[in-house]
């Protein structure tokens, strides 16, 4: 019986298919995990006119796709999608449900987990199967400075939302075969309690700071607005962008859109210069994806210095000026 094969489900979040490939990334990871569990990888797709996505998911690893298609599902709706997912999960009893940690996914998955009475780990950056066949969910804790490994030992399904960009999608194979299970809209579906007044697709925001290969971040250790300005010159020479901590923005040394931190911009430069920043969690949570970190601080024990690849114990502004001078010399050559 096919019911005996455990299933790993991936929620089909297709709304930003071309910009956000997290569903495909999850199908890829689910395929790896399925190998260890002798499980089958399935996707769920809710919506209207979704054949394109069903085909894409099969081409990227789904062996079975559960499809609920109806005009009333044309726009994403948390209320309706949660009810559909709950009913499907109760009927087909998947072992694992994975949801991309998009804004929608992070609103949708907690409600599904709650209705199914199971656990949910948020924003995972790692997924594995342990020797007991349990899903080990690795998630950032305390603003990302720590990682924690979490299991859901008893309740089923095991559920996780997963951060986009962690796993690599499988190259598409349009010859791949997959079963398509088309389900009717269930009877007696409660009406949507939230009314959509308008929904307007916006072009993806221009994320200069977030996408910059080099970021020069400054904190209170720059000790003044005029000195802080030197960071802009350094950034220009490096072809990078300037970021700032909250105290700096409150002191009006930098504009608010330069804010880097937990509740602000998350940056992922290949090289990050951190000038005069102590390294409070509210800031460092926004830089955990930085590649190589060069920190400059008078205090060798500052938290930021411990996170750095190169910790320079000196006055931040003087090092900034010395860097500008040296770069000008070298770039002129």
């Amino acid at each position: 019986m096919s019911e005996q094969v455990p299933e790993i489900w991936v929620f089909g979040d297709y709304r930003n298919y071309f910009q956000n490939r997290v569903t495909l990334q999850l199908l890829s990871r689910a395929t790896d995990l399925a190998g260890r569990l002798n499980a089958s990888v399935c996707a769920t797709v809710f919506g209207h006119g979704v054949d394109e996505w069903v085909g894409e998911y099969i081409a990227h690893g789904a062996k079975r796709v559960y499809v609920v298609e109806d005009e009333s599902l044309g726009e994403y709706s948390t209320d309706l999608y949660v009810t559909l997912m709950e009913r499907l999960a109760r009927e087909y009893k998947p072992e694992i449900i994975l949801v991309g940690a998009t804004t929608f996914g992070r609103e949708f998955a907690p409600r599904v987990a709650k209705r199914l009475g199971t656990g949910l780990t948020a924003d995972c950056v790692g997924l594995d199967i342990n020797d007991d066949g349990q899903l080990v969910q690795t998630a950032p804790a305390f603003g990302g400075n720590l990682l924690t490994r979490i299991i859901t030992p008893e309740k089923r399904p095991q559920m996780a939302t997963v951060r986009p960009g962690i796993f690599q999608e499988i190259p598409h194979n349009y010859q791949a075969q997959g079963e398509i299970v088309r389900l009717p809209l269930p009877e007696g579906l409660p009406r949507d309690r939230v009314r959509l007044i308008s929904s307007e697709r916006r072009p993806p925001a221009i994320q200069k700071l977030e996408d910059a290969a080099v970021v020069v971040c400054g904190g209170r250790g720059m000790s003044g607005k005029s000195k802080f300005k030197n960071l802009y010159e350094l950034a220009r020479l490096l072809g990078g962008e300037v970021g700032a901590t909250r105290p700096v923005v409150y002191s009006k040394w930098a504009e608010e859109d330069a804010l880097v931190g937990q509740a602000d911009k998350h940056i992922r430069p290949k090289v990050l210069f951190s000038f005069g920043i102590s390294g409070a969690i509210q800031h460092t949570a926004g830089i955990i994806d930085a590649g190589f970190i060069i920190a400059i601080n008078k205090n060798p024990l500052a938290a930021m210095m411990k996170m750095a690849d190169v910790a320079i114990v000196a006055d931040a502004n003087q090092v900034c000026l010395a860097l500008i001078k040296e770069l000008k010399k070298r770039l002129r050559g």
């Binding site: 199971t118 859901t152 929904s199 690849d309 190169v310």
Partner: protein, 261 residues
Amino acid sequence: MASELPWDAKTCTLRRDLAEGMMNPACKHALEAALTIRQQHGGHITAITMGPPMAEEILREAIAMGADRCLMLTDKAMAGADTHITSYTLARAIEIFCPDFDLVLCGCHTTDSETAQVGPQLAEELDIAGISYVDDLELHERAVHVKRFSDNFLETLETDLPCLVTVNTQHFKPRYIPLSGLQDAFEDLNILAVSASDLGIDPVHIGIEGSPTKIIDVYSPRAEKRNIVLKGAPKKIVEELFERFESMLGGVIKKDLKREG
């Protein structure tokens, strides 16, 4: 960083009693939203938190900002709860102490664990509509209008009271605490401590015991990071930095950084 966090290795939970008492930024914005609504439409604001006795500081902050009263859910049995159980416990308290509530406002996430799950799960527990990650909201009669930016879509949504909204830190900048508020927070403590038995909950169903998720371990991803320390005169430091890393830096900025001669 890791060693400075009040982490309890024995129970694998955050020692919130030792973490610095400070209201979570997004929750402050949610409280500001509540205060704004009260200014325009009237109403009564109850601030609720769950945590160790030290969490009282946060509720004093809430009173200082203008909350009318506070509930502090504190009980050893509640410790170590995951979001599933936290939302369960909060919902029972709301049902008992705020049976006629119209609107539940939450911060969209916390700075420590950042799961953003308690809000949506609390809406489920209370069986009301919920809208997350909201930039702006307004009350029109018995309807809530919200604006939010969700996955590249600018959405305007509407729902009827009672409902739950989680607020992000875009709008509703928290007000400065007035001096009179500060006085209130210390003189007139309208804070009600609530235990598991007050909620009629069996302790085995809550806290770390009742939570479906279990933490195996916690570790620092940067623990093994090789760290080069440079000291001395800025000019010398910069020279050494380029000596060691000029090709790496040059590769990243796609410019030749080799020194002439």
